[in-house]
Structures are given as C-alpha cells and as structure tokens.
C-alpha cells in the first residue's frame, strides 16, 4: 500500500495539470514533492456510486454477509459492485471518478467541512482542535475544492478556510513570538502545549518559522552570533567517513595485490 500511494498521488497531479485551470496547476507543481501534500490526498471520503462497476465486488467487504465462506469470496471477486453502494475512497481516487467529466459517484463532504462544523468555525475558530480533526486542514480543503460539488457550498468552504486562518493567525503569532524566553529548548517540546497541540500541520510550520526568527534575535542578545560555526555540523564525521573509505580502498588494493602475487 505504502509503495503504491505516492504513485497514485502523482498520477492525480498529472491529470490535474492537464486540466485548463492554470492557477491550480502552478500551485500543484510547487508542492509536487511535498510529503505533506501527498499525505493530505490520502484522507478518506464517503462516496456513493452512481453506476455499476464490474469485477470490483471484493471492495465491498463489509456489505456482503459476514458469514462468507471461501466459495462466496471467490464469487465476490468477479461480482460487480452495484450502484448506490456506499464506500470510502481516498481523495486521489475520488478526484478521478467524481469530477465534471467523469461523474461516477457522489460524495459526502468530510465532517470538518460540513455546515455544522463551518458554523463552529464562524463562531470561534481559535478553539477548534485542528490537529485532531484534520491534521492537514488547509491543504485538504484546497484539494477538496477541486472536486465537483455545489458552487455555493464550495464558496462557503473556501471562505471558511480563509477566515479560519485569519482568526487563528493571532494565536500562532503570539505564541511564536513569546515562547522564546526559554530559548535553546527544542521547538518540538512545545508540541505538547495545550494550544500549540491544536495547530494543524501548516500552522505548526508557521509557528516554528516565527520562533526561528526570534531565537536568532535571542542569540544576538547573548552575543552568540559571532561564533563561527562550521558549515554542516557533522563535518568531522564526514572526514572520518572519508578516512574510513580511503582505508578500505587501500586495504582492498593491497589484498588484490597479494592475491595477484
């Protein structure tokens, strides 16, 4: 599975780039190798098929009777999967079967983007635990908007994402500019903080970048900036490795010479 996923995700990107929408294309190319981006296309979406699909009956595991014996499983393999079946597909597959050209299924918006959750975001987005609900909230949302669903709802989802970020921004900024007093500590330590643990992945990155600027200033105040640091902290190990390598090759050469003799 893990072997297959990046491939399928990238094929999704290719088909996206073939579409005429230039703005989304340039955005997608930017994130082409981004692991976060690939991961955010793995989220599952509840779908309902509109057509019969032959030979895919085995996908419908739980739907068939649980008492299935071997014969039944064999027959399931070649059986068609019928329309109106409800299944969960990863985003990258939904993207292919559920756009304006290929309308093979309908899908349900993920809970985090549904109307009831959108109202919570409008009320106060700062208290929502994005990390728990959708660790790649913004990326996932941006992907979802490429799917084919109601235009008004689409707009509402997009506006919700924007205002969510704008509202939550102040918290992120305040945190990244304030925790520096205990400088030198690992940024990862703060991930257990009760507010920072609510940030989604992008927000955490933003927080870390803000912190880096302030840690730099902290170093300035402590007169640590002038200390010359060797480029690449593991410089010694590299030279050690080189030594090992040369030792190895000379030993090998000697052995070869011995064998020749």
């Amino acid at each position: 599975m893990s072997n297959r996923t990046p491939l399928s995700a990238s094929s999704n990107r290719l088909s996206a780039s073939a579409s005429s929408n230039t703005t989304s294309t340039s955005q997608q190319y930017e994130d082409y190798f981004s692991i976060d981006d690939i991961l955010s296309t793995q989220e599952r979406i509840k779908c309902q098929l509109l057509v019969d699909v032959p030979k895919l009956g085995y996908l419908e595991h739980s739907g068939s009777s649980s008492k299935s014996n071997d014969d039944q499983q064999e027959s399931n393999v070649s059986a068609p999967i019928s329309a109106q079946t409800k299944l969960e597909f990863p985003y990258w597959m939904v993207y292919s079967i559920c756009n304006s050209k290929t309308n093979f299924s309908t899908f349900e918006l993920p809970y985090i983007f549904q109307n009831i959750q959108r109202q919570i975001f409008h009320a106060d987005s700062t208290i929502v635990d994005l990390h728990k609900l959708s660790p790649n909230f913004y990326r996932y949302g941006k992907h979802l908007l490429q799917l084919n669903f109601d235009q008004d709802e689409k707009k509402d989802v997009a506006m919700t994402m924007l205002s969510t970020f704008q509202q939550r921004f102040r918290t992120i900024m305040d945190y990244s500019f304030h925790l520096t007093s205990s400088s030198g500590e690992d940024i990862a330590k703060y991930t257990n903080d009760k507010f920072i643990s609510k940030f989604d992945h992008f927000e955490k990155q933003l927080f870390a970048i803000g912190q880096m600027g302030f840690l730099d200033y902290d170093r300035l105040l402590k007169n640590e900036t002038k200390k010359m640091v060797a480029p690449g902290t593991n410089r010694t190990t590299i030279s050690d490795n080189m030594n090992d390598l040369t030792n190895l090759t000379t030993r090998k050469r000697k052995r070869n010479e011995n064998e020749k003799e």
Partner: protein
C-alpha cells in the same frame, strides 16, 4: 532601504551593521590605512576619528582605543525616542537603521565608555518591546484585512529580518486560500 532586501539572516545584518562608522580615541599613532570602503586614519593619540565599527571593536579588544559615545546612544536621545514612540500610533523614525543591533554590539564591547550604559540597555529594551507590540498589531490587522501587501515605514533592519520568513509564509497562505475561492 532597498539594500535590506538582500539581507538573509541576523548574522548578515550584524555583519553589515559593522560597516557603520563610530568615533574612537586611539592611544597610538599610525599612518592612514587604505581600505576598500575608504581610507581610515591617520591615528594620533587623544585625537578622535571615525572608523568602521569592526575596526573599532578590534582596537578596543586589544586595548588600543576608547569609544566616544555616539549621539544617538545617549540616555536623553533614547528616552526622547521612547516617548515619541509611545505617543505616536505608527512607527517613528529611528536615528539609525541598525540601532538595535549597533547598541547591542557597542555595549557588549565597550560598556564602560557609554555613560549610564545599564540604564540605556533597559530603556532600549522598552523601546524594542514597544515597537514589537506595534509590529504584531499591524501584522495582525494586515492578515485580517486579507490584503497581500502593506506599506511600512521606519522599520529597522532587525525587525524586518525577524518577521520576514514568518510573514512571507502567512501571506502566501492567504494568497493561496484566496485563489481557491470560486468566482461567481
């Protein structure tokens, strides 16, 4: 200010700040030294002259000179600046675009040459905190407004350096989120 666009991190800001001139009083004599940026000297004992900060630091560390406190680093100047900053809603112009970094460098090298140095350090910290609070408020309102650019004046290089990457990332996110809003 356009030079500051090329400054990457705080080390480079500090490096560039050391090109600023300061006045020192040497205790040795030496003919003029010709440098790429200009000639320095001649050095005469007890005669004040302007040298680049990096040279001043070097001379000070080998006990060959003493600093003359720059005009912008006196207690009176800084407290006037602080008052102006408190009264003004916007940023007020600083006497030097490297002021925070220079004061830090000078006071770490030659604290004894700066009269009232410890108090200046305190008041500088107040000034910094005040400006930072203003900076945070204005960044927040920029993000909330959804605009992708804003005109800022009188920011010092360190302040720009601090927020550059952070703001860049946030603004990019805003831009991308605005792009995906479907048109009517």
């Amino acid at each position: 200010m356009c030079k500051s666009l090329f400054i990457m991190d705080i080390e480079e800001v500090q490096y560039l700040s050391e090109n600023e001139y300061v006045s020192i009083v040497p205790n040795f004599s030496h003919p003029v030294i010709h440098l790429i940026k200009g000639s320095v000297g001649p050095f005469q004992p007890t005669t004040p002259l302007n040298v680049p900060l990096w040279m001043a630091i070097h001379l000070k560390e080998s006990h060959r000179c003493r600093f003359i406190c720059p005009e912008w680093l006196t207690y009176d100047t800084i407290s006037t600046l602080l008052k102006a900053e408190q009264q003004n809603e916007h940023f007020t112009p600083m006497p030097n675009r490297f002021i925070f970094i220079l004061s830090q460098t000078i006071m770490s090298v030659a604290l004894e040459d700066i009269p009232n140095g410890d108090n200046i350090r305190l008041i500088m910290k107040d000034l910094w905190d005040l400006r930072l609070a203003k900076l945070r408020t204005s960044i927040d309102s920029l993000i909330k407004s959804g605009a992708l650019y804003a005109k800022v004046t009188h920011l010092t290089t360190v302040e720009i350096c601090l927020i550059r990457n952070f703001l860049k990332m946030a603004l990019k996110q805003i831009y991308q989120l605005q792009q995906v809003i479907p048109d009517e």
